[in-house]
Subunit: 319 residues, 2 copies
């Protein structure tokens, strides 16, 4: 089978490509070929014949090259991230809305009803919707990124209902511990307060220890995307958009888990400096999520945040 | 002030244009000019200087002509209807999704944050969402029309959140008594079983008398669109998409109201012939709607279906 990963140059896309190459099969068939697509050439993976395609998914001709006629499964993980989509509405619309339209239309054009796994986001929630957020909560995104992701979900459900694609959109929790460097995203601290101390560096925590949010490790995100590609279409019912399970945790619990795994030293590298502007943004984010449908189709959260810490040490700690 | 009606050639658009011309003011200002836009030239209205613009809103250049720089309020009522959007996915996407993107982008380009009133639809509900449908129910459209309307809602809320437009999207109930001729829509009987008998003609009712649905008269739709244009933006909170109130009524209640207003003769012109294919479609439609937010901003339903019958006789009965 031929698998396409759009956004293979991203953190999750890269991990997914390596996981697919390592397992060698999906949906009961051997993986014969993978196409890794992104704006810049993604790293190749060992063990499977791979092609690389670069370009902007806002261009339908690029998407046609990214998704060859014999494609069986598409993972569409490419996105203009939250901060950038908020800073430039048209860039976000081009990447997240038009890009997703192009991917879905190309998948339809194959004529083979390919599986399309897409990364949506918890950012579709917010605003007027009361907590807790169940599978039947209204979407009311308060960022352009979230609005564009919501629109993509409706497109995927409708194309799937019509039998043109076999789409599956998963709303990813906030990923922690995310490897790499801190960035300007308001959520950056949710990984950096663990990652930097584990790397022996200082980190600033801009919220109080009782700030709660909804988390999943990169390793479990990848496992859930694989499960999401394999589960039967019947599991989705009439809505192809599903919340991916995560864990509700306070920042204090994140730090305690780090201490349980790595000892007391890393936590001493955290400077607690409350930043009002960060709090103003992240306090509007939802964390009280009840993803019954996702659990029901075999998606899982991490057993504890100690696992998230261990996975970072095993998978991502800089050598 | 300058008002643009896109879809002014439609039944609601035409009634709205005449109502605006008759009242002469909106949002506390005199109406100096109206632009009536549609695929074919809409009928002019008396009493206000009007321009007509024709074309397809899937073309941004057409939309630029439809919405001149001095526009204050836009009513965007144009749509590819449910049956056509289901029959041809690309036609629906062009008219309902790309068309709405073009209208919203043009409204943004004015730079004056114009009011944009848009007709969404109850077709955004369905599928997995449990009844009753509150203001916080998840959208799960089971038609391409409904999916495209849902996407437009998110676009309008996001552009409004960013302060680019002052958008207001109203989910219209099923309109009855709709004037004109029966068509191939599955909902056609919801008007024709009243309209045709009042016109002295036979009509077929394909569902049982206890079939329930959610209705509003054309006259009250127009009144609600006017209220929706005038109400303060604060009334919308974080979500610019609002269910317009209607009344939950059985077909038996519709017919009884007709008899109460027009005597026993018209009801004798109804042939009750249950049609399984019609029932299969309309039984999936939602009617148990609780539009608290709409009521809260002063939108109203009809006092009784007897009013719907009277409004038809007063406004629309062929002479």
């Amino acid at each position: 089978m031929h698998i396409v990963i759009i956004g293979a140059g991203g953190m999750i896309g890269g991990k997914l490509a390596r996981a697919l190459a390592a397992r060698g099969h999906l949906r009961g068939r051997d993986i014969g070929r993978m196409t890794l697509a992104d704006m810049v050439a993604p790293a190749p993976v060992a063990g499977v014949e791979t092609a690389q395609v670069t370009g902007d998914i806002a261009d339908p001709a690029v998407v046609e090259r990214m998704i060859p006629p014999d494609t069986d499964v598409i993972f569409h993980l490419a996105a203009v991230v939250s901060g950038e989509a908020e800073a430039d509405l048209d860039v976000g619309l081009a990447g997240n809305l038009l890009g997703t339209i192009n991917v879905v239309q190309r998948a339809r054009a194959l004529g083979s009803c390919p599986v399309l796994v897409h990364s949506s986001s918890m950012a579709v929630y917010g605003g007027d919707t009361p907590d807790p957020i169940t599978d039947h909560a209204s979407l009311n995104p308060q960022t352009s990124y979230g609005a564009q992701k919501a629109m993509g979900e409706f497109l995927i459900t409708d194309f799937s209902r019509r039998g043109l694609i076999d789409g599956r959109a998963f709303r990813l929790p906030t990923i922690s511990v995310r490897p790499g460097k801190a960035n300007k995203a308001a959520s950056s601290f949710m990984s950096s307060i663990i990652r930097e101390p584990l790397n022996g560096q200082e980190a600033v925590c801009p919220v109080d220890a009782d700030f709660r949010h909804y988390y999943l490790s990169p390793r479990q995100v990848v496992a859930n995307l694989l499960r999401g590609a394999e589960v039967g279409a019947d599991a989705f019912g009439a809505n192809r958009a599903v919340q991916m399970p995560g864990r509700i945790l306070s920042v204090g619990e994140l730090v305690a888990a780090m201490t349980a795994v790595a000892g007391p030293e890393p936590a001493r590298l955290i400077r607690w400096e409350r930043q009002p502007e960060v709090n103003r943004i992240v306090e509007g984010w939802r964390w009280d999520l009840r993803p019954e449908k996702g659990y029901g189709m075999g998606l899982r959260d991490d057993a504890s945040f100690e696992d998230n810490v261990r996975f970072y040490l095993e998978d991502d700690l800089p050598r």
